[in-house]
């Protein structure tokens, strides 16, 4: 079965977004290179350095995504389809009327993160499951469901914003470094969660 991965860009002071949800600074590296990388199912094209291009392409090799409601709303439902064109599970307390219905491109899970992850793993087969949003990632970590953390560390300080690692309980949580990759405008950090 596939591993569960959270992959996010982050500032040196630990923020994945500004208080208003904007991510220009932490995501700047996605457009500071010359190599074009397209998202599988979405109009978005990135231009990154060659080293980051490998990493970005690898990050698209997921079998399913689990996304929190906040991220879903901030992304405005990605225009109606998961950017990677894979099964997309949205964790929410209430199903947004706009996207409800049998033919919805999204699967809304209202009975919690563990349920969403289980469904996503089943849908993903052998491939990894991606987890998006700080809150969902944190819940997965606390439930022992998270296998890997991949951070794209931008050399910026935001001062305030949405923290990825906040209010953690059951600490300390040991990690194991898998690898570190230096790229011109970002440092890629890969960790395994020690269980």
């Amino acid at each position: 079965m596939g591993k569960v991965i959270v992959e996010m860009s982050i500032s040196l002071d630990g923020f994945i977004a500004r208080p208003d949800g904007s991510t220009d600074e932490v995501h700047a590296w996605y457009n500071q290179g010359d190599v074009e990388v397209k998202m599988p199912n979405n109009a978005l094209t990135f231009k990154v350095d060659p080293v980051s291009a490998e990493i970005v392409r690898a990050s698209f090799q997921l079998g399913a995504n689990v996304t929190g409601r906040r991220t879903f709303d901030d992304a405005e439902a990605w225009g109606g389809e998961d950017p990677m064109g894979i099964p997309s599970f949205i964790v929410t307390h209430d199903v947004p009327a706009e996207w409800a219905g049998k033919d919805s491109p999204f699967i809304f899970v209202t009975d919690g993160v563990a349920s969403a992850v289980a469904q996503a793993k089943a849908a993903a087969g052998d491939k990894p499951v991606g987890v998006a949003g700080a809150d969902i990632a944190r819940q997965c970590l606390q439930l022992g469901l998270l296998d890997e953390i991949q951070l794209h560390l931008a050399p910026v300080l935001l001062g305030e914003g949405i923290r990825l690692f906040d209010q953690l309980e059951k600490t300390p949580i040991e990690l194991e470094q898998i690898r570190v990759v230096q790229a011109p405008h970002v440092t890629h950090l890969f960790f395994r969660v020690v269980k």
């Binding site: 040196l12 002071d13 630990g14 970590l141 953390i149 951070l151 560390l153 050399p155 910026v156 300080l157 935001l158 001062g159 990825l164 690692f165 906040d166 953690l168 309980e169 059951k170 600490t171 300390p172 949580i173 040991e174 990690l175 194991e176 470094q177 690898r179 570190v180 230096q182 440092t187 950090l189 960790f191």
Partner: protein, 194 residues
């Protein structure tokens, strides 16, 4: 030209100590884990990083809070073996220790401490070795040339954050290098002058 470089070990979730820091518990609960790379888990690569810091630094600046909790565990001779300048509100005469460390207490603020440290360091660098508040003050004042963060693969959940209540406006960083060992990722940043 000598540089002003901050050094600190930090958990992946941004803490430089564990919770409940105090005299007798200088690194907080479980905080000594952040320094494993210098002791139990030290590899040759970690040793090289540490050696480079020691040999290139001629004087150290610390905050009073860090001095208060560190004084006893550092012992005599303290590990610095060079002049240390403590930024404090309380005037105190210098305290010479064995092995080349003298603790100097500077009441004139961070600039005064830096001036004295620069004079003492000569050609070598000045190290701003903590705590978090002092490092932030030097960074905010535009007095840091570089920051070295020893990032430890652990989530501590609480303690003193390196970056908190910090107005980051106008501060730009550029990664100079990163060295990965099994025990830590040593991140070295330049503070970019605009």
């Amino acid at each position: 030209m000598s540089k002003v470089i901050s050094e600190i070990s930090m958990s992946l979730d941004g803490f430089i100590t564990g919770p409940n820091v105090g005299v007798g518990n200088g690194l907080g609960d479980g905080g000594e884990r952040l320094h494993d790379w210098r002791f139990d888990a030290k590899t040759a690569a970690d040793a090289a990083i540490e050696a480079e810091i020691i040999t290139s630094t001629g004087a150290v600046v610390l905050g009073k809070g860090m001095f208060d909790v560190g004084f006893e565990p550092w012992g005599d001779p303290p590990p610095f073996r060079m002049p240390v300048f403590v930024v404090t509100h309380e005037a105190r005469p210098p305290l010479p220790m064995q092995g080349g460390t003298t603790y100097n207490f500077v009441t004139g603020g961070i600039e005064a401490a830096l001036e004295l440290a620069r004079a003492a360091a000569g050609d070598k660098n000045v190290g701003i070795w903590g705590g978090a508040d002092i490092i932030r003050q030097y960074l905010k004042a535009g007095l840091l040339d570089e920051m070295q963060i020893h990032l430890v693969p652990i989530l501590l959940g609480g303690g003193v954050r390196l970056f908190e209540d910090f107005d980051a406006a106008g501060i730009q960083l550029r990664r100079k290098n990163s060295v990965e060992t099994p025990s830590a990722t040593h991140l070295h940043f330049e503070v970019v002058r605009k």
